[in-house]
């Protein structure tokens, strides 16, 4: 009987081709959309994590309360020992000290008088260690616009626009005007090594990237850092893992009464990233639901049209002595076969497109020009294990649901009526 159905499907293009194409197209769209959304959300999360939040972030409780002001007077002290302990406690993580600071960049002329000035947002990272993972993490090498990456003490990077505005070229001197950890006024001279552009408005406006050691000197922050960011070694944010890490850390370090005790915050708690993470989780469910609904609807109608053409066949089969439930069952088997192959084709083409979008990426920098939130300019799709099955199962299911709905009409009709409608 299966052979009988199968040859019917292969020979009757009307029976198979339209549902096949509908299923394949739907599955393909789902696969591409899923990979794309996963990629975009993931890219945004990682971009924020790398520049600002980490997958987790360690601060003092007091600093955490005023995080947006990056109050370095409340910085973590004794980071040298902490940075030795942390990798042992959390072998699944990589840690990086960061000093975020504000100040004014002052450009002196030949006589030491101010020639130009501008407000700066600074990030202090490990720039000068050999093989510092921070270079890669902030994508500095490919973001370099002019000059080179710092190799010597007191060399810094500036956002390219900022440097242009200040008419500053690599090799020129700039003075950072800021306050020390103890609230004292301080001046520190740097040399511009190069300029960078990240394709992100917030970062490209007035960022200074300096080495931690130089900053510690400039801001009098010996063995201190405002924040320590933690990154999962896998390189991708995972809420389950980071929650476990955060709980372990806080159980050990957090003291409710002590506002200088350390606290670890998970990415969703930082910079309003929670909604992105949540969204990223829910998108899959929403996507699948919408897909099944829409596809079932289309396949239902396709099934009705196809079924109409086959009233004569169904009526004749019933007359020959096939049971109605069996006719119905064979319709569902047929649609499962079509759904299976349609989903297979849709998944394959979807994955191919997703792979292309993952490798090539799409530069949406032009859309991000005025974005004030931290978003990368190039988005890439991301293929995850879910991408392989996210379209497949709904593809088969909606083919079946569509047929069940369409078949209902045939099921309810009087057998003799099937012939009448055929003759009409």
């Amino acid at each position: 009987m299966i052979k009988f159905l199968f040859s019917g499907l292969i020979r009757d293009k009307h029976r198979s081709l339209i549902p096949f194409l509908v299923t394949a197209t739907g599955v393909m769209l789902t696969v591409v959309f899923h990979a794309w959304m996963t990629g975009v959300l993931g890219n945004s999360i990682e971009f924020n994590a790398r520049f600002s939040t980490g997958h987790v972030k360690i601060m003092t409780r007091a600093y955490a309360e005023n995080m947006s002001q990056t109050p370095n007077d409340l910085a973590i002290l004794g980071t040298d020992t902490l940075m030795n302990v942390l990798p042992q406690l959390f072998p699944e993580m990589l840690f990086a000290e960061r000093i975020y600071f504000g100040g004014i960049v002052d450009i002196p002329d030949k006589n030491g008088e101010t020639r130009a000035q501008g407000p700066a947002m600074g990030i202090g990272i490990d720039l000068l260690s050999e093989n510092s993972p921070e270079i890669e993490r902030l994508n500095l090498a490919s973001s370099l616009k002019n000059g080179q990456l710092p190799v010597n003490k007191n060399e810094v990077l500036l956002s390219n626009k900022f440097a242009e505005k200040l008419e500053l070229s690599p090799g020129d001197t700039l003075t950072l005007v800021s306050t020390t950890m103890y609230g004292e006024f301080t001046l520190h001279n740097f040399t511009l090594a190069g300029t960078v552009e990240f394709g992100n408005t917030a970062l490209d406006r007035g960022t200074v990237i300096a080495d931690l050691r130089d900053l510690r000197e400039a801001l009098n922050m010996d063995a201190a850092a405002g924040e320590i960011l933690g990154f999962l070694k896998t390189g991708t944010y995972d809420v389950v893992q980071t929650t476990a890490v955060t709980n372990r850390f806080n159980a050990r370090f957090l003291v409710e009464e002590d506002e200088f005790s350390l606290v670890m915050k998970n990415l969703p708690e930082l910079n309003n990233m929670g909604f992105l993470v949540e969204y990223s989780d829910k998108i899959k469910g929403i996507l699948v639901a919408v897909f099944i609904f829409a596809m079932s609807l289309i396949l239902w109608n396709a099934g009705l049209l196809g079924g109409l053409r086959r009233y004569g066949e169904f009526g004749m089969r019933l007359a020959i002595g096939e049971e109605k439930s069996h006719v119905y069952l064979t319709m569902i088997i047929e649609s499962s076969i079509i759904g299976f192959f349609g989903s297979l084709a849709g998944t394959a083409t979807g994955l191919a497109i997703a792979l292309y979008l993952q490798n090539q990426g799409l530069d949406l920098g032009f859309m991000m020009k005025n974005a004030s939130i931290m978003m990368p300019s190039v988005f890439r799709a991301q293929i995850t294990p879910a991408t392989w099955y996210i379209g497949f199962i709904p593809g088969v299911i909606s083919a079946q649901i569509g047929t069940m709905l369409a078949g209902m009409g045939i099921y309810k009709r009087q057998t003799s009526q099937l012939f009448k409608e055929l003759e009409a």
Partner: protein, 233 residues
């Protein structure tokens, strides 16, 4: 000789809902059919022929009265039981042939046996026999679209006969055929009726069919208006 009737119809009525009331298509039919009959139910369009044939074929159910088909009461059969009865004992032939368009002649004739679960080599033999009865052994690989009307109806006859049913119901089988083809399929059915003792019941108003039948039941407005046995020695 077994004279027990294969079909026994008693005061059969069939109503259809129509507008606010109901329309009575069959209005008190009493009939007996014996094994091996070659009978025409004859009447103008709308007289109730198809309705009667559908009830005999268990495709429809009586509203009132009784129809015993091979001893089974058509009104009280479950869907499963009537399907089983059709599967083993009833064959249908329609004006529009109703062949399965995507399947070959062989596969069309094979289908009833597939449903019965007949084993494959036996199936093949029975299909070839049936196609031989109707003279179409040279067309087994053809599709219905490649056949003439006469050939199509011969395939339909083979499909109805392949399982050697007790009763074949043919609703206007010649309505789409020219004279030559009509005579051809009628001769074929007459031969099968004689050789296999299959009961044939035709619904028709075609003179050619009427010329072959050995019993004429006249239907008019849902009632039997006449019942004649023709003696052809």
């Amino acid at each position: 000789m077994n004279n027990e009737p294969v079909i026994r119809i008693k005061d059969l009525k069939k109503h259809f809902p129509s507008g606010s009331g109901r329309f009575t298509a069959l209005n008190g039919i009493d009939l007996l059919f014996s094994k091996g009959e070659f009978t025409g139910i004859i009447g103008p369009s709308g007289s109730g022929k198809t309705t009667l044939l559908n009830i005999i074929g268990t495709l429809d159910t009586p509203s009132e009265g009784e129809a015993l088909i091979l001893g089974r009461s058509a009104g009280s059969l479950s869907a499963k039981e009537s399907a089983a009865l059709r599967k083993s004992q009833l064959g249908f032939i329609f004006q529009t042939y109703n062949l399965f368009p995507v399947y070959t002649v062989f596969e069309n004739v094979e289908f009833p046996l597939l449903l019965q679960g007949v084993e494959s080599s036996q199936r093949r033999k029975m299909v070839l026999d049936a196609l031989e009865w109707v003279g179409l052994t040279d067309k087994i690989r053809s599709r219905p679209a490649q056949l003439s009307g006469g050939e199509s109806q011969r395939v339909a006859i083979a499909r109805a006969m392949v399982k050697r049913p007790a009763i074949v119901l043919a609703d206007e089988p010649t309505a789409n055929l020219d004279a030559k083809n009509s005579h051809n399929i009628l001769q074929t059915m007459e031969k099968l009726n004689r050789e296999l003792r299959t009961t044939f019941i035709f619904a028709t108003h075609d003179e050619k069919v009427i010329g072959y039948v050995r019993r004429k039941i006249f239907l008019f407005d849902g009632k039997v208006a006449g019942d004649e046995i023709i003696n052809k020695n």
